[in-house]
């Protein structure tokens, strides 16, 4: 029972981190209609920003998280204004290549500053929580609570506020949104800022139980892509459900199948599902 509970907890932790990253990715896809390959690099920069704020400036964990979110949000907005916005009329191939260029640049830049070695963010909450005979590290519970809290706030923002619904409107129909007077520039800046902040928060939450290194974003971003393909590109509930599916598949797969191949499970799942359903699991949200 306890072992099973551990796997559930692991699955929830992984799933909520993946879901946060996938959410940002899917939001940007809704606006840009390109897969932002640089999103994983934003996630990585977020982890380094938090690491720097905590390690070198001695900031509090939550302050560092907010700081990282602001830094990465600014970076994401900058990438939109300087690169993606200017390429909006170019063929999609160009956006993808530009995103790859940005990814390479950020990774090499971080590596030039902090080196290729692994870093660790000291766990701010090293306690173990005990409930009956179940044990759980506090950090994992914090990840789950914070991630779901954030998703809930995001959901409220997108559905209950005027600014939030402009994002949805824009994703649904660009021309229509412009017709009713929605400022496309404002919406895309906002979307990029949110997606960057989500990536930074996900990275800061995950960092205390993980390692920080320049290519740390690769696996996460690829899994996030798997998630949004499965969940439907541009679909927000799809990103959350997909994140949890992959999280659980990985934690249970690592335990019952093989730890060595746990990272392949997500991709194997993708191959399997796309072989039978090329349009993804929830094609309604998808735009082919």
């Amino acid at each position: 029972m306890n072992i099973f509970f551990q796997q559930v907890l692991n699955g929830l932790t992984l799933g909520s981190v993946y879901a946060l990253v996938a959410l940002g990715l899917t939001l940007v896809y809704g606006i840009l209609h390109i897969p932002n390959f640089a999103h994983g690099a934003l996630y990585m920069v977020g982890a380094y920003a938090a690491f720097y704020l905590v390690g070198s400036l001695g900031a509090n964990y939550w302050v560092a998280m907010a700081g990282a979110a602001i830094v990465v949000a600014a970076l994401a907005v900058l990438s939109d204004r300087l690169i993606f916005h200017r390429l909006r009329n170019a063929p999609p191939l160009h956006d993808m290549i530009a995103a790859i260029g940005l990814l390479l640049f950020l990774e090499a830049g971080i590596q030039a500053i902090w080196g290729a070695e692994f870093h660790r963010l000291a766990p701010p909450y090293p306690q173990i929580v005990r409930l009956f005979d179940l044990v759980a590290p506090a950090q994992r519970l914090i990840i789950i609570a914070a991630a779901f809290g954030l998703m809930f706030v995001l959901h409220l923002f997108l559905t209950r506020t005027l600014t939030g619904s402009t994002i949805i409107a824009m994703a649904q129909n660009r021309e229509g949104a412009s017709l009713v007077g929605i400022d496309a520039t404002k919406v895309s800046v906002l979307t990029f800022a949110i997606s960057g902040a989500l990536a930074a928060v996900a990275a800061t939450l995950f960092a205390p139980i993980n390692l920080i290194y320049p290519s740390m974003g690769h696996l996460v971003i690829m899994k996030a892509f798997v998630i949004i393909i499965l969940g439907g590109m541009g679909s927000i509930p799809g990103a959350i459900v997909g994140g949890l599916v992959i999280g659980f598949a990985e934690s249970f797969g690592a335990f019952y199948v093989s730890t060595n191949y746990k990272d392949i499970i997500a991709f194997a799942l993708l191959v399997l599902i796309l072989s039978f359903r090329p349009q993804g699991l929830f094609p309604s949200g998808a735009r082919a």
Binding site: F37, L93, I100, G101, F105, A112, A116, I264, A268, V271
Partner: protein, 338 residues
């Protein structure tokens, strides 16, 4: 037509330059670097077929190059198979795996295809890294034998290996030029320009795309097999997507969808990184923004730019001639009227 008649002597000059290169190169290291650039160019020429001609951004290309290299590595080191047999098998293995990967991934279009192949590439990397028994895992395969001699020719020094690689480069470019100038090549371009239109014209989309994919992975496999025999050490990192990105940079700099673009880009960028030796690990600080600037301001690449200028000039001269003719015609008209 002028460009075609101009091309032949130009190609002959380039070939002579390539043949003379080892004799004028200052030391063996330069020859080594050039050979490496040729090998990367062969892989990039293959990628250009699916990316530049068929318009599908395949991000698993480095993975297929690694499959070719590992096929040679495993067969020669662990099973004592002669190099050239392993070399042929490497091409076949890459193409067969490419066939199945293509069959699966080409059901997806545009972005989905790119993302999917990114995952395929990463799966290849993970499988290579984790399968200790087969691939030696993270350690990689060392002491791969150099290509065995053919008849009296030996491939035991940098010079002879340079010519071997050059030979394969020329063959692969020649083959590629036959492919892209054939009806099949036109079908590839038609798909790039518009899948719906291509389908309406009676092109079997899936079959044609899979064929392009298989051909490109075959090139990757051959390049990988050459790489294994030339560098003689391979590790799982060569399957990483960053190597695919390198090749994309080659193609973009040289000219996407042009025959010689990948080669030109591979040579230029390889020498650029060599001359910025201190940048080895950080080459992406230069390459990353370079990629972005290229797609923003110079998406056609060097050869594409040159060709565009030629076309424009040809169009201008044609217009001149037409103008002259019409002027002459009206003069004649005037004279007959008078």
């Amino acid at each position: 037509m002028t460009s075609k008649t101009l091309q032949k002597p130009l190609l002959a000059i380039l070939l002579v330059l390539a043949i003379v290169f080892p004799m004028v190169a200052a030391n063996d290291y330069y020859i080594y670097v050039m050979s490496l650039a040729y090998i990367m160019a062969i892989a990039a020429v293959g990628l250009n077929l699916i990316l530049g001609y068929t318009g599908q951004l395949n991000l698993a290309h480095a993975g297929f190059m690694a499959i070719g290299a590992y096929t040679v590595g495993i067969l020669t080191v662990d099973y004592g198979v002669p190099y050239w047999i392993a070399f042929v098998v490497a091409g076949i293995v890459s193409a067969v795996i490419g066939f199945f990967a293509g069959l699966l991934s080409l059901r997806l279009k545009g972005h989905f295809f790119s993302i999917f192949t990114l995952c395929v590439g990463f799966m290849i990397y993970l499988v290579i890294e984790k399968s200790d028994a087969l691939t030696h895992g993270t350690v990689g395969i060392i002491d791969i034998p150099a290509p065995t001699g053919i008849g009296p020719i030996r491939f035991d020094n940098t010079w002879s290996q340079y010519y071997l690689v050059l030979f394969f480069l020329v063959v692969s470019l020649w083959l590629m030029s036959r492919i892209v100038h054939s009806l099949l090549g036109r079908a590839f371009v038609a798909i790039r320009n518009g899948e719906d239109l291509a389908e309406t014209l009676g092109i079997n989309l899936m079959r044609t795309k899979v064929l392009a994919f298989v051909l490109s992975t075959f090139y990757a496999g051959m390049a990988g097999a050459l790489y294994a025999g030339f560098v003689r050490f391979i590790g799982p990192a060569m399957a990483l997507e960053s190597h695919t990105f390198d090749m994309i940079a080659f193609i973009l700099v040289g000219g996407i969808g042009t025959l010689f673009g990948p080669l030109l880009g591979a040579i230029l960028l390889t020498w650029l990184t060599q001359s910025l030796q201190f940048l080895q690990d950080f080459r992406m600080i230069v390459f990353g923004p370079l990629l972005i600037l290229l797609v923003m301001f110079f998406p056609q690449g060097l050869i594409g730019y040159w060709r565009e200028r030629q076309v424009r000039r040809a169009a201008a001269s044609m217009q001149d001639r037409r103008l002259q003719r019409s002027v002459i015609g009206s003069q004649q008209e005037v004279s007959t009227n008078a």
